[in-house]
Structures are given as C-alpha cells and as structure tokens.
C-alpha cells in the first residue's frame, strides 16, 4: 500500500466521519485515527472504503489539481510559486534536506525553477522533516505540499 492510497483512505474516512480504521492482510497491518470534529455526522458508509482488488483505481478523477485537504499530521511547507521542484542545488550535489532533519525558518529546503530562474525556497517554519512530498524534477503548483514536518 503506498502513500497515495493511504492519503485517499484518510480522505474517505474524513468525508464519512469515520474515526478509526484498522486493517490487517498478508503481513501488513495499518491503523488510522482521524480527528473527527464533533459537528460532523458519525456514520459509517455502507460502501467499501477502498477497492482492494484494484488499488490503482484509487485516483482522484479531477485533473492535476491540489489535493483537497487530507488530514495533516503536523506542519506542511507549501509551494509559494508555480514551477519545477528540485531537491538539491545541482544534479551532483546532495539534497538540501533529509527526513529526520531539524530545520528552521531560514533553512533553504528546495529550489523551484520558474521562467528559467532558480528560486531558493526557505522553510518559513521550524520542525523535523517527516516526509518529502514533491518529486524531484516534477512540476509543482501554488499551495502544493512540498514537505511535511512535525
């Protein structure tokens, strides 16, 4: 099960007001707990949450739009511009940051190339990196999650 599928699962749980989901199969076990707001209806959808036979069908139908609000554990560093994401100063250099690294608001976390200009992006927040969300060399849009911190 990859991160995209887990994210979709969390989304579905949130949409249907499901607080806890546990699953075990073939040497794989997962427990998900969402912070369900008191205002939303507490019901469990009768439809299966995920199509287990076709994991590839868990894709959102919308075009490459920013994902609508998955449950965020921690802080996100979002893209302040539209362009191409690079995780290191140059192809030969090591990446700017790594998972587990402590960063401060002034830490340069990545480069976003826009209109032939390489823009250094600062974190603007502090925390420990738990996830690198954007792919090296791929386009990112405004507001897209680049890194997740805690």
């Amino acid at each position: 099960m990859d991160i995209k599928e887990i994210r979709s699962l969390i989304d579905l749980m949130k949409k249907n007001g499901v607080a806890v989901f546990k699953m075990e199969k073939e040497g794989f076990k997962i427990t998900l707990k969402t912070a369900v707001s008191s205002g939303s209806p507490q019901y469990i959808s009768t439809q299966p949450l995920v199509q287990w036979n076709e994991p590839s069908s868990i894709t959102d139908a919308a075009p490459t739009a920013a994902p609508a609000d998955p449950v965020v554990v921690g802080i996100e560093v979002k893209s302040p511009m539209v362009g191409t994401f690079y995780d290191s100063p140059s192809p030969e250099s090591p990446a700017f940051i790594a998972v587990g690294q402590e960063i401060t608001p002034d830490t340069v976390v990545c480069i976003i190339e826009a209109m032939k200009v390489m823009n250094e992006v600062k974190a603007e927040v502090s925390g420990t990196v738990v996830e690198i969300c954007a792919e090296n060399g791929k386009p990112v849009q405004y507001g897209q999650a680049l890194f997740r911190l805690k």
Binding site: A62, P63, A114
Partner: protein, 453 residues
C-alpha cells in the same frame, strides 16, 4: 493549429474558451486560485494548475506564475479572456518573449488603443468622428464662448481634475455657458484645488452602440455589426441586444466602415470592439476601443452565425478570416441578460454564497453561458456575474417574449440574483418600444426598484 492553450481567466469565459478548445481538438489548461478549485472551468479543462490564493492580485494577475504554469504545462498559446490581463500590453510582450502566442491583438495595438488619448488621436487621424471638445484648458470666458460656438450647443464644462460629477456643468446657450463656466471653475477650485476646465459636446440621451471587429494576421479586417449596450446601471451593462433598435442600414454602413478604417490604420488583429456614443439624430462619436473579446459577444454570434472565440484561436494560429465570417449577414434578433449574484431590493448588494437549487431555462433559442451549478460556492473575491442568458428569435418582439419566458423558468435558490429586475425590464413598455438610452436604467430605479417574480 495549436496543440495546447492555457486559459488565463476564470468563471464563465474560461468555460467558454475551454469549450472552443475542445471543439477544435486543442488541449486546454486551466489556472485557478485556491477558492476556485470548485469552479467548473477547473473540472472541464484537460489540466489544471493552482496559481495562488484568493486575491486576484496574487493569482489571476500574477504574470510570473501564469507564465510558469504555461511553461510547465508546455502550452503553445494563452487566451486571456476579458478583464484581468486581457488588455495588459506588458503581458502580451512577456508572452511574445517566451514564444507563447497571445490570443489577441499585438502588444502595440493594445498600447495604442488602450490609452484613451492615443485612441482618440488614432480615431481623429483615420477620420472617425470623435466627440468634439476643446483642444485643452479654457483660458477665459471669451475662449469658452468661442469653443462652445464652434462645437455647438449643448456642451458640457468639465473640470480637468474632476470626478464624481463635480466641477461639471451643462450649458445649452451662451447665457448658461458663461454662468456654468464660472460656477464649474469655482466648484473645481474648492473641491480639487484646481479650477482648470475644458469643454466638450454634451450628447443628449446618448446610446451606447459598439461594433464588433475582427482582423486576421494577413491584413484583412471585417466588422460583424453592432450591439446596443445602453442599458447600464452605474456604468455596468446589464442587458445588451443585437441589432440596435435605432440602427438603419445606412448608419450601420457608415459606422462599420469607420470601424474597419480605424482597425486598418493600426494594423489591428484578432477580436476587438469599438464603442461609440450615438445621439437621436444618428450622429456617432468614437468613445473608446476594447482590444479583447467582450462579455456580450454571444449576441453577435447568434445573429451573425459565427463562433467568435473559435475564430480568435484560428486567427491567432495564422489562419485567414474565413468566407463564412467575411460574408456573414445578420439574421434575427438576440438579447443577453447578465445575471449577477446581487440583491436588487438591497441596492444590488452582492450576495456571494452557496447556490442551492439550480435549474437553467432551455428550449428553442435559449443559450446559457454559465459556470454555475447546484451546490456551487460563489467566492466573494471576484465579480458577481454568475450567468448570461442569451435569447434569439426572428424579430425583436419575439426575442423579448422569449427572454421573458426564459427568465420566468430560471431557478436559482440560496442566493439573490438580478433576474426579477431584468424580468421587469423585459416587461417595461419603453424598453419594448426600443425607446431607451444610457440614462434609462437609472431613471427607472429612481422610482424604486421594479421587480417581477
């Protein structure tokens, strides 16, 4: 033909452009601000890229982000729609330098015709009548009289630094001119610290009549008739019709020829609209030019049988103006009502919010250009227009009746709209006679807002 076009706009016009792209087999890329993620244009485009937060200045007007989006999506052209960057010559220049075709006129044409003074100069140079006025500031009473005599009464004395209707006086003879000249100067001095005034012809009960023009990249320019846009509230158009009730074939020929001449003189390409003020005697005066596709383009499309947005794309791709367009003749009558999310009973206060129920009218001769749908959350950050209803029929009376029928069917709940007010206009006897001018809506509103549910 282009392979991919980015639409640098939102709302109904973005949808309009995406539709034209789909019919031409061109890939469409939508850009959107964060609140617009729920917008139809985002859902229907082949690709969509978020380019900023709600504020237009930080999204739809951000040239750098729009160009970045165009580059990562690898588009061949950008259609700017109307408003936003559509008449921004600098944006057109940036597109050029990035080898992305700007679907519209050249940056130079936008500059020349976008500036009111330079546009008037171009008009004067190509023999298009402009509203007569003094060449500059009036030095003294004697000059005021001289200029007024030359222009012909009635005239308007206007403060150079003026605004909000202050420092303005209308004079219909020499006596009131002298009085008005001194009064205007004094008022302007008090209000703006600058008593300088100039004089221009005052057009009584003017009609706002605009001509649709189209030029290709090979020097050919045509016009596609006129639209009457005199029904305005606070200078915002609310109902438009094609043809104009006061047009005659002779006047159309005169105004059409003048429009073509003006476009040829500046090498105008792609779609444009030339706005004129016309008095009851049929004298017309150049006001300004809009170097873009206009909101009310559908009424010209219905009467002249052309798809103007498709033609914009084709012309930009280098095609010649087709015979279909060159030989287009007007047939029948079309009216458009701009439906705004505004409360006519509360001074047209905008009411953004969620659309609850939505049922759009249909049937023969009804076209709806809208991005609205049941459940759509209207963001408060942009203009309040949510739909355009276009009625087409074989003659003006049938058209008005058709529009009235359609407005009666239109169901939009959850928000207030201007529909009841436009319905009242459709049923107004002066409007039905075709007897209205730019002051009509305001005088109607003076007696209280008429609404028909």
């Amino acid at each position: 033909m282009f392979k991919k076009i980015l639409i640098a706009n939102r709302g109904e016009i973005a949808l309009r452009i995406i539709r034209a792209c789909k019919e031409l087999g061109v890939q469409s890329v939508a850009i959107y601000s964060e609140p617009d993620i729920h917008s139809l244009h985002v859902q229907l485009a082949d690709e969509a890229i978020c380019i900023g937060p709600a504020a237009s200045s930080d999204s739809y007007l951000k040239i750098d982000r729009i160009i970045s989006a165009a580059e990562i999506a690898d588009v061949d052209a950008i259609h700017p729609g109307y408003g936003f960057l559509a008449e921004n010559a600098h944006f057109a220049d940036v597109c050029d330098s990035c080898n992305i075709k700007f679907i519209g006129p050249t940056a130079q044409a936008i500059r020349m015709m976008g500036d009111k003074n330079s546009a008037r100069d171009c008009a004067r140079a190509s023999g298009v009548p402009i509203s007569p006025g003094s060449d500059g500031i009036i030095a003294d009473e004697a000059e005021a009289l001289r200029v007024a005599r030359k222009i012909g009464y009635p005239v308007m004395i206007k403060a150079v630094a003026g605004g909000g209707g202050r420092g303005m006086r209308i004079a219909s003879n020499e006596g009131s001119l002298v009085q008005g000249y001194h009064a205007a100067r004094m008022e302007a001095e008090k209000a703006f610290g600058n008593g300088a005034v100039y004089i221009e012809k005052f057009i009584v009960n003017p009609h706002h009549i605009e001509f649709q023009v189209f030029g290709d990249q090979h020097g050919r320019v045509v016009h596609l008739g006129e639209r009457d846009c005199s029904l305005q509230r606070r200078n915002q158009k609310i109902v438009e019709e094609c043809p104009s009730p006061l047009m005659t074939p002779e006047l159309r020929k005169k105004m059409g020829d003048a429009s073509i001449k003006l476009c040829e003189s500046v090498g105008y390409q792609n779609a444009g609209t030339i706005e004129y003020l016309v008095d009851d005697a049929g004298n017309f005066y150049f006001m300004e030019m809009n170097t873009r596709i206009q909101v009310e383009h559908p009424i010209t499309e219905e009467v002249y049988g052309c798809d103007l947005v498709k033609h914009q794309i084709q012309i930009a791709a280098g095609e010649h103006l087709s015979d279909h367009v060159i030989n287009a003749q007007p047939r029948g009558h079309a009216i458009e009502c701009r439906i705004n999310a505004e409360d006519p009973e509360k001074n047209f206060q905008p009411c953004p919010g969620n659309i609850d129920l939505y049922y759009a009218p249909g049937g023969r001769g009804i076209r709806i250009d809208s991005h609205a749908y049941a459940g759509y959350p209207i963001p408060p950050n942009y203009d309040s227009m949510i739909a355009k209803v276009i009625a087409t029929a074989s003659n003006r009376t049938a058209c008005i009746n058709r529009m009235s029928r359609a407005l009666g069917e239109y169901m939009i709940t959850g928000i207030k709209t201007t529909i009841p007010f436009q319905q009242a206009i459709m049923q107004n006897s002066d409007f039905r006679r075709g007897a209205y001018h730019t002051g009509f809506v305001e005088s109607l509103l003076l007696k209280g807002v008429p609404t028909v549910r």
